[in-house]
Structures are given as C-alpha cells and as structure tokens.
C-alpha cells in the first residue's frame, strides 16, 4: 500500500528553491565581506600619498636653490640633534591634505603621523634614531603605514662624526595613519 511517508511534494520543492534563492540574495546583497587581504588598498593609497609628500619635500624648487625644503628643515642652522619639526609638520600636512576642488569626498583627511630620523653613528658603528615630529602618539591600536626618504644633510649627528661637518645620508621615516 502506497503511503505519503518520505515524499517531497511539488509545492515544497518550489518553496525550498525560493527560500534558497531569497536567502542567497539577502545575504550577498546585505554584506560585503572585507577580508584582511583587502586592507592593502587603503594602505597603498596612504603609502603612495606619504611617499609623494616626502619626495616633493626633498625636491628643490629651482636649480639655483642649494637645498630642498626637507634638507633645510633637517639642517636647522646646524644644531646637532635637533630639527625644525614645526616646519616639517606644516609642510607635510599641507602636502598630504591637499586635494582638488572636484567632488571627491573620500580623500583621506584626519591623518596622523610620527616621524623619526635615523642616522649612522660613525664612532659607535651603530644606527641612531632621533625623534623628528609627531602630531599624534601611537597607542598600539592604529594601523600605520611606513614611508621613508633618504636625505643628504650637511651637519653633524650625535655620537659620530665629531666636529667634521660633511654631507651624510640620513633616513627620514614617517609612520602614517588615519582615524
């Protein structure tokens, strides 16, 4: 004798198909899965911006200029171990926040950075790092990108070189992040 146990009826099949389609549509259209691998996009934009800003700061405005703005800032009248951090802050933020007047509203403003200068300590044969300027402190929760620029500076640095002033390459390192 035929009974109805274990049978799938037509109406149930249609209902199941509709529920599956609706569920798939709802889930996929309501969420965008942001995987860790995708963060490189915003990192790339920020890194490019910071790299450009440092590069432009290290470019003299004309051929008769003896030094770039960044070289002048690092030289700071030859004072050992000190730099014109306020000057760097003004120019760097001006570069990274500069944007056109077009209707592009996701420009990465609200930028923070922490800049240091690394140099080679000739006497001790080690690498020394000096604070440059920071408009915000890293607390550990941020996700900064690192941008660097080699700069030739004609001054002495702590620890090495003594009073012998000669051009030397130092590394300006900026950790850059946004809110």
């Amino acid at each position: 004798m035929v009974n109805d146990r274990g049978q799938l009826y037509t109406i149930e099949g249609i209902a199941a198909a509709l529920i599956m389609l609706f569920s798939a549509y709802l889930v996929l259209s309501a969420t965008s899965v942001y995987t860790p691998g995708d963060t490189h996009i915003s990192d790339m934009q920020l890194e490019q911006l910071g790299t450009d800003a440092l590069r432009m700061m290290n470019t003299p405005i004309n051929s008769s200029s003896s030094a770039s703005p960044l070289q002048d800032i690092l030289y700071y009248n030859g004072v050992q171990g000190e730099f014109n951090g306020a000057g760097f802050n003004t120019i760097f933020l001006n570069y990274v926040n500069n944007e056109t007047g077009s209707k592009i509203d996701n420009a990465p403003n609200g930028l923070h950075y922490n800049a240091t200068v690394s140099y080679y300590d000739i006497a001790n044969e080690t690498t020394g790092t000096l604070p440059f300027y920071a408009n915000s402190n890293l607390t550990g929760g941020e996700h900064p990108v690192r941008v660097t620029e080699w700069v030739i500076v004609n001054k002495t640095f702590p620890g090495g070189g003594g009073t012998d002033v000669k051009p030397r390459a130092v590394l300006v390192e900026v950790l850059l992040w946004r809110d």
Binding site: M20, M44, S63
Partner: protein, 356 residues
C-alpha cells in the same frame, strides 16, 4: 503479487527536479555575486593606481617630439598620455603637457580611455588637477558615483623660463643702435650645448625642444631718436624673424652662421600673428614647444632668432637710432644666467584619479 514498494511518485520527481535546477542555478550564481561585491572596488582602485602612475611617472609616448606638440589632426599618433617631464623625474609634471591634456579639443572618454586608462572594460573616470595656492581645478570626466576607485598624487609642475629685457638691460648690454638706421636687427641666441649640458636634470633644464621659450622686451622706444627729428613718433613693424644656425665642425673651426628659414607665424603678444606686425613699446615673443625639432637643431647647434624691425614715418621707411639692436653688442644669450632669465620653477600641485 506486485506492490508499490520501491516506486517513485510523480510528485517527488517534479519536486526534486525543481530543487536540483534551483540548486545548480544558485551554485553557479554565487561566484558571480562575489565578483560583483568584492572585486569591483578593488579592481577600480587598482586601475586608478595604475592610471596615476602612468600620468605622474611617465612622459607619454611619443616622447621626442613629445605627444603634447602634436595637433588635433595628429592625435591618433599619441599612444600614451604621460604628464611627467621625463621618465627620470617622477612627480614632476610638464605644464605644457597639462595644458594639452586638459584641452577642450580632446573628447571624453574616447580620446583618453585608450591612452591612459587602458583595459578592455569600458571604465569611466574623472581626472582632476589643481595647483597649490589656487582654486582653479582642471578636470575631465563626470562626477564619480558612490563607489569608485581612487588615488591621489602629490606633484610639482615645472614652470616655464622667460627672459625679461627692460630699458635698464638694454642700456647695460648696449642693445641699441648707435648709428642712424632704418632697420634694426635683434638676435636671440640659444646655445644648445650649454642649455642641454649645463643643467642635466630635466626638472630644471631649459629644453628648447619641449619647453616654451619666451622673451619679453619692454621700453623699446625709450631711447629712440628719430633722424631727422620729428614731432610724431615713429611706427615700427616686426618685419621678419630669421632662423639661423651654426654647427661646430671641429673644436678649432668656427663655422659660419647660416640663416635657413623664417618664422612666418610667430606668437607675439600672446597670439599667433602674421608678419609684418606693428610693435608698440613692448614685445612678447614665444617660441612654442615642439617648434624646434631635432631636424632644426641638434644637441650641438648654435641657434639664432634674428628679429628684424623696420621704422616708418607716415608710411615711409625712416631712420632712427637708439632702437633695440644687437648688431654691435652680440646676441642676447638665453641661458641659465639668472640676470638674463627667470629659470623654470617647480610649483606644488595635486592630481586625483577616480575610476568606476
């Protein structure tokens, strides 16, 4: 006796078939949905980044003569729209290339898409540029929608050099005639060996092939004495601009200067004019980028632009003395001496690319 055990009902077959079709449909749909949701902005960001790199770090193709010197009839020869001064100077943009890129005669998006965006997908885009300390934004393309790829590049724009010759310069270098003459000739000298060799960095170089050469003269009538004395001022015409050159054959020989062509439609006072052209007290002469080609002058050429001025009184050729004339003093040197020339200066700017 037969029974119905092991048989399938028609209801079950119909329902299972519908279920299977729906399952296959959903399974094939899911990857497509993920592509749409996930890769779109990532793809657009990558295209925006690539476009930014091409614009900011590449001089474009063709390079010599540079693409911006090609007129609208030859724009089909432009393969790539880079704005950099050279491949060795990333982020340093040419002002002439910017002017050509944002000109009104190129059509958005067709003229740009195949030369700067690339790819088979018909991307839409907005590229905008603004110099620092200016509210003037130059832009091509539509306003971006809600979702788009984006890159912003900090750049510098290489300015143009220019020579300013005023009354005091004329007196200092004795650029005026001491004899009574009806015709004065003033010569501008471009020493290619020095222009290209003294400043090797393309960001600061005065490159006569790709850069605009500009000479502004003021106070031209300040010391003019009509012969014989007249109450009415003389009228002066710029009659011709001869192009002359000499090429060193060997270091011990001074080759002759040979005039071989005329600059028939120069840009004077910021407009293209036909000669003769009446000159008042001032003159602004522009030699546009691309006018001087390697056929005209190679890297060792001494090139001269000889400006000829005729003076008239009541329509009759008339004598004077004291007008702009370099016959006795030697030509005006267009070089890197800051006393003669305002050197090219770099100005800050920002370039944004949006792609969707």
């Amino acid at each position: 006796m037969t029974d119905n055990a092991g048989t399938l009902s028609i209801d079950f077959l119909a329902g299972f078939t519908i279920f299977l079709i729906a399952f296959i449909y959903v399974a094939t749909l899911i990857p497509g949905l993920f592509i749409g949701l996930q890769s779109r902005t990532i793809d657009y960001d990558a295209v925006a980044y690539r476009t930014g790199v091409i614009l900011v770090e590449d001089p474009g193709m063709p390079y010599n003569p540079s693409w911006e010197t090609l007129d609208d009839y030859h724009k089909g020869e432009v393969l790539r729209l880079g704005l950099a001064v050279s491949k060795d100077t990333p982020n340093i943009l040419s002002s002439q290339k910017l002017d050509r890129f944002f000109c009104s005669t190129w059509a958005y998006p067709d003229d740009y898409r195949s030369r700067v965006i690339f790819g088979n997908y018909p991307y839409m885009f907005n590229i905008s540029f603004q110099p620092a300390e200016s509210n003037l934004t130059r832009s091509i393309g539509d306003d971006p929608p809600d979702e788009y790829g984006y890159i912003r590049r900090v750049v510098k724009i290489k300015g143009i050099s220019n020579a300013s010759i005023d009354d005091s310069t004329i007196q200092t270098y004795k650029f005026n005639s001491s004899d009574n003459v009806t015709t004065d000739v003033f010569s501008i000298h471009l020493n290619f060996t020095n222009l290209l060799g003294d400043e090797p960095n393309p960001a600061y170089q005065i490159n006569p092939y790709n850069d605009q050469i500009m000479v502004n003269v003021s106070g031209m009538n300040a010391n003019v004495i009509p012969i014989p004395p007249m109450t009415a001022p003389l009228s002066t015409n710029l009659t011709a601009i001869q192009i002359c050159r000499s090429k060193p054959i060997s270091t011990n020989l001074h080759p002759p200067v040979v005039c071989f062509a005329n600059f028939t439609s120069p840009i004077v006072d910021n407009k293209q004019v036909d000669l003769p052209y009446p000159i008042e007290n001032n003159l602004s002469l522009i030699i546009p980028p691309g006018f001087i080609t390697t056929d005209l002058a190679d890297a060792n050429t001494q090139l001269y632009f000889n400006l000829t001025f005729d003076h008239y009184n009541a329509g009759i050729l008339s004598e004077e003395k004291g007008y702009l004339n370099s016959t006795g003093s030697g030509p005006f040197e267009y070089n890197y001496d800051p006393k003669n020339i305002t050197l090219p200066k770099l100005q800050d700017g920002v370039l944004e690319v949006s792609v969707w």
